[in-house]
Amino acid sequence: MGNEAVALGVVEAGIGFVSGYPGTPSSEIIEALFSHLKEEGTPLRYVEWAVNEKVALEMALGAATGGMRSMVTMKGPGISIAADPLLSAAYCGVNGGMVILVADDPGPITTQTEQDSRWFAELAKLPMIEPASPDEARLFVTKAVLLSEMTKLPVFLRTTTRVNHAVGEVTPSERLGPVSEVRFERDAPRYVRASMAWNRSRHSWLLGQLAAVPSLASTLNLNRVERESEDRKLGIVTAGAPVNYVLDALDELGLECGVLKLGLLFPFEEKPILQFIARYDRILVVEETDPYLEMKLKALAQDARLSPTIVGKSEGLLPQVGELNTGHVRTAIEGCLGMAPKASASAEIPLKLPSRPPPMCPGCPHIGSYFSLLRGISRAGFRKNEVPIFGDIGCYALALNPPFEAIWTEHSMGASISMAAGLKAAGFAKPVVAVIGDSTFFHSGIQPLVEAVNKKLNLLVMILDNSTVAMTGHQTTPASETSDSGRSVQPASVYEMVKAAGVERVSRADAYEPSKLIQEIKDSIAQDGVKVVIVERACAILSKRKGDVGLYKVLPELCNGCDACITLLGCPALTVEGDKVVIIDEECVGCGLCAGMCPYKAIMRVESQ
């Protein structure tokens, strides 16, 4: 997998410090590094998940300030969270090579926005490179470290899902020697941003470093002319995963075109780019999401007074929404060359297929939490459609699907609490609810809780504490007693933090005991102030792995097929055979929630032998 290849690249580059926050498609890099950490002769000294991306980036900056080579990993939206230290980091620069890996998700396949993080290179004035395959991702880690050490600037390694999650063969390279000594010498004008005169002078320094990047980078061979063509009609400029679609499309069409693959996205290595585009009458830019390269190439050609026609997304040849594929690129090339498009295979299925909205897992504690929340709202005398439930990022956002169809919003990390508080502050009359997971709470939920309590706003916050970052693959949270690397850590307490924020009504409940939870929600929802219910129950997948499970069965003679259990819970361990409900043995974890729903007492616990 591309992310495992990046991890190998980290070891090859002699990186000693790695931090990050889990987020698809970036998470497997640090996961893979945990095993490299245990290898003999590893350059790795510290590999850990941080509480959020801002903290992770600042820690990596601290390590690189001391001369240690460092990396920080995150998904696209993470770079927005880390943007503040990012922009200052460009002013002080680094001593050890520092790599900022940001994994975008054209599609989007698993991300709230289809953001194009390439713009952050321009904003922060930091170099950015992008690989096109798993093996190149490995190789580019070392190149990023070398470029960072040559320029003294943190360097972006930008990837996308089709590189991070693609599996492909890799060939290991020689390793850079690791850094042995960590030291830090005081240099206030460089590291202190409290003097405006110093800031101006560091800004000039930054621009000077940036101007030197193209000539320094030329030794790293980041850009490559993949194809040259005698025919001058069309040249293609591309970068990252789309390089593969371009080469495949040309092979499928049997065409000769020039292809320039850019590895250095910012700042441009202008000379070879100008040489390439000058050879062709027309240049097609193939890239995902925004027309980033296209805009820059157009400006570059204009300044150089070159006259090829540069086309891409602005001309509608390629979509700005969704990931690209070989078919899109083929159509764009055909459009540029005025060819008749090749007929594509019929995509129609002559049968209406049922949809498969992703459910929560069998026995997921969130099932009990949402069932109780909706029931509590109704017991308190409100209709479902008059109490907004602000959702947050995590598995519990799956409550948007049937049967719950519960959450009204899902935005950025921690926004459940702040948006609920904002609506209430604006004068919304009915109660409001925020639902947030434990890891999201630690990441960005504490500050909005402090804000809501401080302003004495009325809202109910449900913190779903399943003791893990479930959605991204079960990473530990700050409440864990051991970190994923095996380090013994000081566990943080959600309960104590909520108390310390000044919340007066805090209760703890079990997702598998809905009656208590329903009662608390009913009693507290309309009360003044911030009320917090912490629902504590480990993720069912983890419980199952530990063997901490039971089993229930349906007594067919008592089941009358009313399907109440399925309609109310939507647990995937429940299915229907004939006109009776059946529990799928290998799915059931024995939470017992369904037994409590059955009006006919037809669901029984199976006592283990």
Binding site: R162, G168, S344, L351, K352, P359, M360, I541
Partner: protein, 200 residues
Amino acid sequence: MNEQNILIASVGGQGGLTLSKIMANAAVRAGFSVRTGETLGMAQRGGSVQSFVRIGQEVRSPLFSQGTADALLAFEGVEAVRSSPYIKKDALVLVDPVVKQSITTLTKKEKYPSQEELLSVLRARSCNVHVVEALKEATSLDSPKSANLYMLGMFCSLTGLLPSEAVERAIDDVLGKRGQLALEVFRSGIARGASIRRDR
């Protein structure tokens, strides 16, 4: 060899992703270039999953276009049909007739098609469709989780694409200790494939 495009269609939790990992691992052992990619949503379990596997001399893109799959390995009937636009005419189709209801069919908002309806769509696209009771066979060998490897055994036997020694080492590598029972299921799939070949 031309690139071989293989699509694996499953419901999250059925082992489709693990199968693509094992195939990629085996392909590299057999000296091929390989790429895999997947489309999956945000659920840990229970959503539709498509895994793309490409094996050849020099593979670049992890995905392939509709109408270009040489084989479809499907662990569920509806998912097989959902992925059918990807297959070439007369691609090898192995489909387990397992029914995985979704919340919409259980609550009767949508109808789960009959096996006949599903199979007729597949057979209209390919005359090389085989119904494979992989889950049943794997369960009978005490390893229901290895249904994916029964399917892989049949695939290897019917296509000759991946040598079984490479696959067995890949299974060992990817599954570790869990791989012992899985190997038996894989071999049983190979035997079934061989018997289909003989019957042709």
